[in-house]
Amino acid sequence: EGDLDVLRRATALMQHHDAVTGTAKENVTRDYAKRLAAGWNEGVQVINDALSKLVLKDDKSKQLPAQAICPLINETICEVIRSSGEFTATVFNSNSHPLSTVVRLPYYSRDAIISAPNGEHIESQLVKTFFGTNQLEGTKRAPYELLIPVDIPALGFATYFVSNKTSIRSSRLTPSKYDKSKR
């Protein structure tokens, strides 16, 4: 059972003026980062607890791998994507308004087939990562960025499916049982 208090305490501590502005001894700043990371991990636990409650109880649900967050996604690094030929990208919108935007994922292949939550294929865009100079030298950055258009309900989430296969597998997508995705 995830312990959100770890996250609450860490973010509460961050309201201190030393934390917000980074005006602290280096080791104190590292301690702030450590507490936030521990809180973040508890947050991921809660996400997985919630998803396991939302999933229908049948044998397939046991095969659902845990959700992971990529903390270095803003450096174009994501281990789950690097090690998975096919993966889900679940996008959470914490705003009280619906969100239409484009999300950028670190990507490690030149091929991508994207399916929207309703199973339909959608157009994406693949760009080479901008390395620019040696600023982020030594980091294991993905060679590409995959851009996906997303539509997320207010205070909601949506799951998109990504495959680096070049063609659709033999089992064509059968029409979905659900006409409209539940908001």
Binding site: S84, V127, P149, T159
Partner: protein, 296 residues
């Protein structure tokens, strides 16, 4: 398969990108030059530059150095960083972007996103260079330069929401003495800063609290990253000189959203977009071991 456009570096040529809502022109030196609102037809001259203030630095005595708790530039004019910028251009159905290489430790991506009425500036600063002997503190800013007749006035948010009017070289609560012409005109910018005249408003939305000001009419500056080499004697007892993961100095990366529109249209835009930036989507990932259909 998504088509991937070639990204050959461009030097000494004008460039233009558009998403059907906004058009951005770049001059031969690689700088942003004009912004066009395609719906209204309004074209605004705008230039964006990176500069840095050299911070005051004293080893001993009670002279005040620039440090963790205090910004004290040495002089009032920031140093320019580079004359011309190398560009790479990426165009596509969802995003068009221009990738700037300013120098060895500053790069930036200027992005237009499908359906969005703002320009995204994603800046990456660092490692800030450190001289071997008597290193000089450097405090890096981005400056957005327009012809808006802002008449010494600018506006910053308080706590991410209430907008506070600011007047250059003036304070509403004490008699202002101009001993620190730059630092005393800096204010906390937690979510937005803007300037305006009768026709045009330039609004900058930031993704984290930064110090910012409008030191000259038509201009907005925000401090993005700093590296200080002297203790400022306000209690940290350490210079603000974090080595970062590489050991050569911290690299900072962040985002500004630029809105240029009329003063009447801008408030509605920045009110909703500030929430959208603050509530940027959170992503989680998992390997997919079922078919899409089974997963759904």
């Amino acid at each position: 398969n998504a088509a991937m456009s070639a990204q050959q570096p461009i030097v000494g040529a004008t460039v233009n990108i558009s998403n059907g809502i906004i058009e951005v022109d770049f001059d031969e030196d690689g700088y942003v030059s004009t912004i066009k609102n395609i719906h209204t037809g309004q074209t605004t001259k705008m230039r964006q530059e990176f500069l840095y203030y050299e911070g005051a630095g004293f080893n001993e005595g009670d002279n005040q150095s620039s440090g963790a708790y205090i910004f004290r530039p040495n002089g009032t004019d920031p140093k320019r960083l580079s004359s011309n910028i190398t560009l790479q251009v990426v165009q596509g159905p969802l995003i068009s972007e221009v990738r700037q290489t300013v120098n060895k430790w500053i790069t930036q991506i200027i992005r237009l996103i499908k359906g969005k009425n703002y320009i995204e500036f994603e800046w990456t600063i660092g490692p800030i260079p450190k001289e071997d002997k008597n290193p000089i503190t450097k405090e890096v800013i981005t400056r957005y330069i327009t012809e808006i007749a802002s008449n010494g006035e600018f506006f910053t948010d308080a706590n991410g929401r209430q907008i506070m009017p600011r007047k250059r070289n003036f304070s509403p609560s004490f008699e202002y003495v101009n001993t620190e012409p730059v630092a005393s005109n800096y204010y906390p910018v937690n979510s937005r800063i803007f300037i305006k005249d009768a026709n045009t408003q330039l609004t900058v939305l930031n993704d984290r609290s930064q110090g910012g000001s409008s030191l000259h009419d038509g201009q907005i500056e925000l401090m993005l990253h700093r590296r200080a080499f002297y203790d400022d004697h306000w209690g940290v007892e350490e210079a603000l000189d974090e080595p970062g993961d590489s050991g050569k100095g911290l690299v900072a990366r962040g985002i500004h959203w630029i809105i240029i529109d009329s003063p009447t249209a801008s408030p509605k835009m920045h009110r909703s977009l500030a929430f959208e930036l603050f509530h940027s989507p959170q992503l989680s990932f998992a390997p997919l071991q079922l078919s899409v259909e089974q997963y759904r």
